[in-house]
Structures are given as structure tokens and as C-alpha cells.
């Protein structure tokens, strides 16, 4: 969410296709919650179009969104993992089998001896009112 940190509220609207403004929007910025709903260094789940996303607010108030589905256990639990760091990377550890993922890229930093499997990540923006938006691909 680095470049989009200080989006204004008006920017949080459907983004139009650059070639054909009449087509359906390709992506939407969807409001999820207020920044203050999120606790520092802990996650919360959000539900969009029946899909589950895990939101994390790190100690420096950056917000990350990754898939809620834990690729190792198959349960939707990533938001309940412990937030931390590995080197410079902000991380979350799966609450099931403790695989560690980079919150910025979703890549697996410690697979606990398994094959590495990553998490999907989504861009996040926070507007001037402190509302948190996710860039959601319309399907």
C-alpha cells in the first residue's frame, strides 16, 4: 500500500478501463473497515464476494491483505497467526503448522520442511478518513 498511502476518498471509486470507459470496471476499490478497527500486530478476517481475506496492521501502521486460506492446512485461519518480522520482512506465521509468510509478497519464508506454497496478496489503500480499501478484481 506504499504509493497509495494517502489516497483521497474520491480515489476510492471504481477504476475505469483506460481503453473503453463504458466497459465494466476491471477492478474496484472496496471499503473493508476503518483503520481503527485493526489492532497493531494482529490480523482480522474480511469477507468479500464470499471470499475470505486476512488483514494485518503492522507496528508501523502499514496494512497488508493476504488470502485467509492457509495453503498447508486448508482451513481459513491466516488472520489468526502471530505477526512478526524475519530480517526486514513483516511476517505472519500460520496458526496451524507455523509456516511463515512475507506479508508484502505472500511468499513462504519458512515452509517447515514442506514444499514452499505462497499466499495471494492484494493492494490496500487507506484514505484521508482512515478507511481501509482493497483493490478487488471484478469477476
Amino acid at each position: 500500500m506504499t504509493a497509495l498511502q494517502n489516497l483521497t476518498a474520491t480515489a476510492a471509486r471504481p477504476r475505469q478501463s483506460p481503453t473503453d470507459p463504458l466497459r465494466r470496471p476491471l477492478t474496484l476499490w472496496v471499503r473493508l473497515c476503518a483503520m481503527t478497527d485493526l489492532e497493531r500486530e494482529r490480523g482480522l478476517a474480511a469477507l468479500i464476494d464470499h471470499e475470505q481475506v486476512a488483514l494485518f496492521r503492522t507496528h508501523d501502521d502499514r496494512i497488508h491483505a493476504v488470502q485467509q486460506l492457509d495453503p498447508y492446512s486448508g482451513a481459513h485461519v491466516m488472520s489468526r497467526g502471530i505477526v512478526g518480522t524475519k530480517g526486514d520482512a513483516p511476517t505472519v506465521a500460520s496458526p496451524m503448522y507455523k509456516q511463515v509468510f512475507d506479508l508484502r509478497t505472500g511468499s513462504c519464508l519458512d515452509a517447515q520442511g514442506e514444499d514452499a506454497r505462497g499466499l495471494q496478496v492484494w493492494p490496500i489503500a487507506v484514505d484521508a478518513n482512515g478507511d481501509v480499501f482493497i483493490e478487488w478484481k471484478a469477476t
Binding site: S73, G84, K86, G87, P95, M96, V100
Partner: protein, 870 residues
């Protein structure tokens, strides 16, 4: 060992550009992994051709498929065949012909591939008895994933058709037969194992060992017939198997039959191509795994070495390493078959290794047998009783890990020490392992290789050694031994095994405890700023949460404390495989009123929860969703229940027998004492979970000696034991003090527990804590009773503070809206249930649906909309 063998120029000429591997089983996978991981220049291009349309999988663990493992779970590391551009993997196509002149293989679909070297790894097929009716519907073998999938599908369908649980027969009482019987039992099939010889596992066990195994198997509800030969299988009118006749003349009904009568090498390809094949089956190889055609190697179960073809994976792995090493131009030889086996069947341990039948001239037996517990252990020793030649362990194979590496070498300790029920790592710690002793049998790593990793490769911890040698990277059961070896070797070189908690703290847990206590810091941010680096992780954060709680820094969900908690502590419930939680209210001492039982029953019923009695004498309710936890607990708290801390690294339960109140043998009030202890130590956070037990007499019905602190009543007062536990490495607690009165008992337990909390490592239970303590139990007695460290006042005060400050975590949470916000299922839909949850019914209760059941909605009884009455 092949990995460390020297390169010779003579062997280098064998290698050339393209190796074709026929077969894609475990041994083929290991061969490719070994070859490619040691060939960074890419001298070899590899083509693997496998008949099954699957990625190579762990055939040894096939039975775990019935315990819920999916085909994906069993898959071996995928990157070896899928992500290496020097490796081509053709699956779902079998090699039909080898043309040795042209050096080409042709598959059934007509693909023709040239090779420079051909590796046969076609494995075996499962044999069926050639009696009438062997191929009726309902007759299976147990070899491939397709086999077990077909078996399960058939059992599911047939039990619906017949409207009752099935009767099953496993023909063949070897290792695989017993596995298959366990799998059938898991499918609710009443099962009989039929063995033609007079004992089970006749290739591995002697008569007494087999007798012991038979009793254990039968006690688990599986019937056994030995000395019994099947002569005919009969169909019903639709062609399903319905019964079988035995040579003795009697007849048995059956609905499903599994043949496990052995495997035969799949040597037809080699035979057709004119490669030498042994009369008893198998492609003949020399110690370099080369067949009669120098361009063709054979490895694994298809190979015949020294007149034998063996159906075990470990020798196949050894051959794979030899073949890969030779292709890379080095020398290596297959040392011969190691027939050692260890398995766990329905919780029954069996191991057999080395010269198990004492066939070495002059060999001596040392035997320990406990027919009541079903334990039989035998060591076979050389005629001077010094060298270990082999052994059999039935019912308790815990010593296998220690004995296996000593095979062929000096035992180094009294043989009896290895056979007694409480054999521990101590016996081995004193016995110096020879360099050639095999420590990790999965990956063939010797003690010498591990020592080298420390002395020559500069590894300074277990993780480093694991990465460098692969010791412990497969099943992990040798890791405690690896840790000891690494520690000893580091100490020898003047270094010590790093005790740093993680990358954020260089302290051990005990050092961090002291640092936090002395500094008086009460928040994670302040502690990591002062003593650590970064922002913590899933290792150090829960440790600090526990330390802060032990030091009385408030509720687990107070402010920043909450972010440190593992998911269980964070929501004060136990996470289950599907992400739902289980709820355990405290039932102190296992004593509960009928009213209390009714409340729990009603809550479980209203929320559709699966209920089960736990091993700690209380009731666990499963399937609660995150957002339901506060509602469930409101009901429980209103009825007078409190948190049972089943989720915490903390006191779990104090188990008790009924004691002198009711029991005609009891000499003290064990329930009263158990309740008192449970209420005193409830909520006490510690390095690992703690369990206590109180028995009202020496009959020990509470199994108190299996607990961290055990209390056993005598006429003269309470005897106290410390350092027992169940779990992965069971230990009996050792006698700590005798004849204590109530006050003396409480004081001694206060001090032991608080000293443990302050000084143990992360996740170190009391047994290894006591073992690592210099001076052992004597030293602990000196701390507690003689105040040898001058800290007992401090320990007493800390415990008094804990007892005074106790509050029920759930009650406090329900009273605090800020804490309750954490139980929202979704930040933008706080009461919407997780849509991915799905349940089905089993024995009248809900359980999570398996992946297969989810695909077949007919069997689902509910998604997340279980009927909930409010």
C-alpha cells in the same frame, strides 16, 4: 557410505548424457533427487517414465490415507520432477519394450526414447492367491493409491447396500496385512486377519514376539486366525464376494477381502529384453546396482541382490544413492539388505532389526516380557554379550531409536537398561556412538557425518546440521539424538549449542525470564527494544506472553499482551483442523455435579457441538466457531463454570481417583486434594503444559506417576513424584518426597512448579528439565527443602501472588467489550459464519467433512448452518 565416497577416474567413464528411469515410485524419486542435487553442472539429463498417472507418493504411509490424508498429502517433494528443466517426467504411460541394441525404450502409447543409461525402478506388484474366486468383486490388494481408493469406495458403497457394517478378511498376516486390517477397522469393518503360517509377521518376529503382538492386535478388536489356509472364495448372486472356505473345512462370511500375501518383483521388461533375471524373481544386480547389461541398472524392489529381492523402502533408497553416485563418476557399493523394520499399527509398536532370530553362532538372548502389558523385548548379543546383533521389540519400541545405531557395535551399557520400561536417553548418552552408527535411517546419516558437519562444515546448531546432512529431515524421530551429538561435539570444540530463543533474542528462555523479572518491564515493545531486535515472531512472542503472565502482568488479552498470544490463547479455545475451536470448561479433579453435566449437555446440544470425554477427566466440546465462543462461554459462566485452560501452556488438569470418600481401599481423600491443587494452580502459565494427578492409595488408579507432579496417598501422608509425562516420550515421575502433610505437600509443589517456570527452556516439559538439571532430582530436593539457592522465599511469594491474583479469563473477557471485539468472524461481517466450514454426521454427532465428502454433497448434513436454538 555413498555420499562420502571418493571419486575415481575409472568409474567416470560410465556416465553419459541421458538417463531414463523406468518407474516413478519412491526409489525412482530418491534416485533423481540424489543425482540432480549433486550434479550442478547438469551432466545428466533425466527422463522418468511412470505408469501411475500420479506424482510419486509415499507408499509406506498409504494407510494414513484412511486417517484422512489426501493423495496430495502423500505426494513426495514435487520440485524434484516438476521444476528441474533437466528432468522430464512422463506419467500415466508405461514402458512396453526395451531395445538394448538401439538403446531405446518404447512406451505403451508409442513414445520412443533413447538412453545412454537405463535405470529400472519398476518395483513390485502385489500377489493374489490363485484360489477360486480371487478376482471377485470386493477382493483387493494393498499396494497403490488406486488400490486404497478403490477399497474405500467399495466399502462405503457396500455398507450402504447392505445397511450394516461390513465383515472383512485380510489374507496374509505380515506387516502389510496388519496395516490393511487397521485401515479396514478405520472404515468400520469388522476384520479378521488370516495367516497361513503359525504366527503373525513371521519374517520379523519369533514365537513369543508374535504371541505378544497377536494379543495386542486382538485387544484392539481385530480377530486373528493363524495356521489357516484359504481354499476358496464364494460369490453372492451378483458376483460380490460373500464368504471363504478354509483348508480346515470351516467357512466364514465376508463382504470384503484384502490380499497381502507378499509382493513379486516386476521384472518382465528385463526378462523380455534378455537381461539376467533370478529364478525366484528380480533383476540380478551386482553391488554397483548394475545388471548383466552394463548400460542398465536396477534399483529397489525389482532388483535381486545376492539371491534376494526385498520389499522394503530403505534398501531401495540405499540402492538409489549407489546408482546416482556411480553415474556421477564416483564409487559406491550396496552393502546388502538391512531388514530392520519398525512400525506402529493401531498404536501397537513393533520393531525388528539385525539378527532378530539369533542365527549367529553362539548368539545370546536377553529377554524382557510383560504379558499383562503385552510387551516383549529381546536383544540378541554376541557370545561375549558385548556386541549388539539384533533385536525384537513388541508393544514398546521406544528403545529402537537408540538401539538401531548400535547394531554391530558395542552396546556400551547393561543390556537390561535398554529393556526396562523406563529406558531413556540417559543410557545412550553415556554410551559413545561409533562414527559408523546410523543415526538417521530415513536419509542414511551416520554419527560420523553429523560430527563432521559440526567440526568441518562449521554447523553450530541442529537446524544447520539438518540442512547440511539431512539428518532428521524426514520423520524427525532421531532429532533428540542429533541434538545430543551436536551438543557433545560443540562442547568438545569449546563452543556450546546456541541457546538463543530465535533471531530476535539471543537469550535462552530462562535468561529472558530473569531479564524481564529484574527489569520490571511489562510490555513486549519495551522488552524487545531493550533486549532484542526486530518485532518478534511466533516463537518469542508466546514465550514472552507466558513470562509476562507468570510475573503477574494481567489478563492474557490486556492491551499489547493480546498480540503475543498463540491463536489458542488469543481466543481462549483450542483450534481444530478446520479452523473451528473446542471448548473445555474446568472440572476440577474430574468432579462434577449432575446439574453441571446437564448444563454442558444443553450448551453442546444448542450449538450443535461434538462432545468427547478427555484424557484429563473433563468434557471437550468441538466445532465452535470463533464468533460463537463468547455466547457459549456466557452460558457456561452464568452456570458457574470457568475456563479450563485446555488451550494454554499452563496447568491443564489434576486427575484423581475417587479416593477414601467412596473407595474401600483409599487411604486419603484424593478428590479433595485434587480439587484443592487444581484451584490453586489454575491459570498458571508455564514453559509447557503441566498435568498433576492424585491417587488415594498405592493402587495408583489416577496414574499420577505419568504426570508432571504425581501425588500418591499412603497411611503416613502424601508421597510426591516429579517429572512424569505421557506424549511422544513417556516417562514415569520419580519419587521426590515421602509422607508429606497437606501443607508440606502444597509448599513443595509450589516451589517445584515455580522453579520449573523460571528455569526451563521453551516447550521443555518437566521430565527433560529434570534430566538436564545438573545433579538431577537430588539437586531439586536441595533447592526446595534445603534452600540451596536461597530463593525459596521468592518462589513462595511468586506463587502466593499467582493464587491471589487469579481471575477467570473468560469471565473477565465477557465483561470487557474491547476484548470481545476480537471474536468477530469478519471485520466487515462480524457475525457471519466462515462459509468454508462443512460437517457430516458420524456415530450420531457432527464432525468435519473430508475433502471427498465435500465433493459429494449428499453426505453433508450441514454447512455452517447447524440448527442452533438460542
Amino acid at each position: 557410505m555413498p555420499r562420502t565416497s571418493k571419486r575415481t577416474d575409472a568409474a567416470a567413464s560410465v556416465s553419459d548424457a541421458h538417463v531414463v528411469v523406468v518407474g516413478a515410485g519412491m526409489v525412482a524419486h530418491r534416485f533423481v533427487e540424489s543425482l540432480r542435487s549433486r550434479d550442478p553442472e547438469g551432466r545428466w539429463r533425466v527422463t522418468v517414465i511412470g505408469e501411475e498417472d500420479r506424482h510419486p507418493y509415499d507408499r509406506v504411509s498409504l494407510t494414513s490415507y484412511f486417517a484422512g490424508a489426501s493423495a496430495d498429502d502423500l505426494a513426495l517433494q514435487r520440485s524434484i520432477l516438476d521444476e528441474d528443466d533437466r528432468v522430464r517426467f512422463i506419467r500415466g504411460d508405461a514402458v512396453a519394450r526395451i531395445d538394448r541394441e538401439a538403446r531405446r525404450v518404447t512406451t505403451e502409447s508409442g513414445v520412443s526414447t533413447a538412453y545412454d543409461t537405463l535405470v529400472l525402478a519398476t518395483g513390485s506388484y502385489a500377489a493374489k492367491l490363485t484360489v477360486d474366486g480371487f478376482d471377485l468383486t470386493g477382493c483387493f490388494v494393498y499396494r497403490t493409491l488406486d488400490d486404497v481408493e478403490a477399497l474405500r469406495t467399495f466399502v462405503d458403497r457396500r455398507s450402504v447396500e447392505l445397511g450394516r457394517p461390513l465383515r472383512g478378511t485380510v489374507i496374509g498376516g505380515g506387516l502389510l496385512g496388519l496395516e490393511a486390517a487397521g485401515a479396514l477397522q478405520g472404515l468400520d469393518v469388522r476384520c479378521t486377519v488370516v495367516q497361513s503360517s503359525d504366527k503373525l509377521m513371521s519374517a520379523q518376529l519369533d514365537t513369543r514376539g508374535a504371541d505378544s503382538l497377536r494379543r495386542l492386535i486382538e485387544s484392539r478388536g481385530i480377530a486373528v486366525r493363524t495356521g489357516s489356509v484359504t481354499t476358496r472364495l464364494d460369490p453372492d448372486v451378483r458376483g460380490n464376494v460373500r464368504g471363504l472356505e478354509f483348508r480346515e473345512g470351516d467357512y466364514a462370511d465376508t463382504d470384503v477381502v484384502v490380499f497381502t500375501v507378499g509382493v513379486r518383483p516386476r521384472d518382465q521388461l528385463a526378462r523380455a529384453a534378455g537381461v539376467d533375471v533370478h529364478p525366484r524373481g528380480g533383476v540380478i544386480i551386482d553391488a554397483g546396482c548394475t545388471t548383466s547389461d552394463p548400460r542398465i541398472l536396477a534399483i529397489g524392489e525389482v532388483a535381486n541382490f545376492d539371491g534376494r529381492a526385498v520389499g522394503l523402502v530403505a534398501p531401495g533408497y540405499a540402492m538409489a544413492e549407489v546408482a546416482a553416485t556411480r553415474l556421477l563418476g564416483s564409487e559406491a557399493t550396496f552393502p546388502g539388505y538391512d531388514d530392520s523394520t519398525k512400525l506402529k499399527l493401531n498404536g501397537v509398536d513393533v520393531a525388528s532389526f539385525g539378527d532378530a532370530f539369533a542365527q549367529t553362532p553362539g548368539a545370546l538372548d536377553v529377554v524382557y516380557a510383560d504379558p499383562v502389558a503385552g510387551v516383549y523385548k529381546k536383544l540378541v548379543l554376541s557370545d561375549d554379550a558385548k556386541t549388539l546383533l539384533g533385536g525384537i521389540l513388541v508393544g514398546d519400541a521406544s528403545a529402537y531409536g537408540m538401539l538401531r545405531p548400535l547394531l554391530g557395535g558395542p552396546l556400551g551399557a547393561d543390556p537390561a537398561a535398554y529393556l526396562m520400561p523406563e529406558v531413556t536417553g540417559d543410557a545412550l548418552a553415556n554410551a559413545e556412538l561409533p562414527d559408523e552408527a546410523l543415526v538417521c535411517s530415513c536419509n542414511s546419516v551416520t554419527a560420523g557425518t553429523i560430527r563432521c558437519a559440526v567440526t568441518d562444515e562449521g554447523c553450530t546448531d541442529v537446524a544447520g546440521v539438518k540442512a547440511c546432512t539431512r539428518a532428521g529431515a524426514a520423520c524427525g524421530s532421531c532429532l533428540p539424538l542429533v541434538k545430543k551429538l551436536v551438543g557433545t561435539e560443540l562442547a568438545r570444540s569449546g563452543a556450546t549449542l546456541s541457546t538463543a530463543l530465535c533471531e530476535h533474542f539471543t537469550h535462552s528462555r530462562a535468561q529472558l525470564f530473569d531479564a524481564v523479572r529484574v527489569s520490571g518491564l511489562g510490555t513486549f515493545s519495551a522488552i524487545i527494544d531493550r533486549f532484542g531486535t526486530g518485532r518478534g515472531c511466533d516463537i518469542c512472542k508466546p514465550v514472552l506472553a507466558s513470562i509476562l503472565s507468570s510475573l503477574g502482568h494481567g489478563h492474557v488479552l490486556d492491551g499489547e499482551n493480546a498480540t503475543l498470544q498463540d491463536t489458542n490463547d488469543h481466543v481462549m479455545a483450542n483450534i481444530q483442523k478446520d479452523g473451528s475451536y473446542s471448548v473445555v470448561p474446568r472440572i476440577a479433579g474430574g468432579e462434577i455435579t449432575p446439574e453441571g453435566l446437564l448444563v454442558i449437555g444443553q450448551v453442546a446440544k444448542d450449538f450443535g457441538l461434538y462432545t468427547k470425554i478427555t484424557g484429563g477427566q473433563r468434557i471437550d466440546m468441538f466445532g465452535a466457531r470463533l464468533e460463537q465462543l463468547p455466547e457459549i462461554w456466557k452460558r457456561l459462566v452464568d452456570a458457574g463454570f470457568e475456563s479450563g485452560h485446555a488451550y494454554g501452556k499452563s496447568l491443564r488438569t489434576v486427575k484423581s481417583c475417587v479416593g477414601s470418600t467412596w473407595c474401600r481401599y483409599g487411604v486419603q481423600d484424593s478428590v479433595g486434594m485434587a480439587v484443592q491443587l487444581e484451584l490453586r494452580y489454575r491459570g498458571l502459565r508455564s514453559p509447557h503444559k503441566i498435568k498433576l494427578g492424585v491417587s488415594g492409595c498405592a493402587r495408583e488408579c489416577a496414574e499420577a506417576r505419568g504426570k508432571d507432579v504425581g501425588v500418591i496417598a499412603t497411611e503416613a501422608g502424601w508421597n510426591m513424584y516429579v517429572g512424569g509425562n505421557g506424549g511422544f516420550t513417556p516417562r514415569h515421575a520419580v519419587l521426590f518426597a515421602e509422607g508429606l502433610d497437606d501443607a508440606g505437600l502444597l509448599q513443595a509443589i509450589d516451589r517445584v512448579l515455580m522453579y520449573y517456570i523460571r528455569t526451563a527452556d521453551r516447550l521443555q516439559r518437566t521430565a527433560p528439565w529434570l534430566e538436564d538439571m545438573g545433579g538431577g532430582v537430588e539437586a531439586l530436593r536441595a533447592v526446595v527443602f534445603d534452600d540451596s539457592l536461597g530463593i525459596v522465599e521468592d518462589l513462595d511469594a511468586a506463587m502466593a501472588q499467582h493464587v491471589d491474583a487469579y481471575e477467570d479469563e473468560w469471565k473477565a473477557t465477557l465483561a470487557d467489550p474491547e476484548k470481545l471485539r476480537r471474536f468477530a468472524s469478519f471485520v466487515n461481517a462480524p457475525t457471519t459464519a466462515d462459509p468454508s466450514l462443512a460437517y457430516t454426521s458420524e456415530r450420531g454427532q457432527a464432525r468435519p467433512a473430508t475433502a471427498q465428502e465435500r465433493e459429494n454433497p449428499r453426505v453433508l448434513i450441514a454447512g455452517t448452518t447447524l440448527a442452533v436454538r438460542r
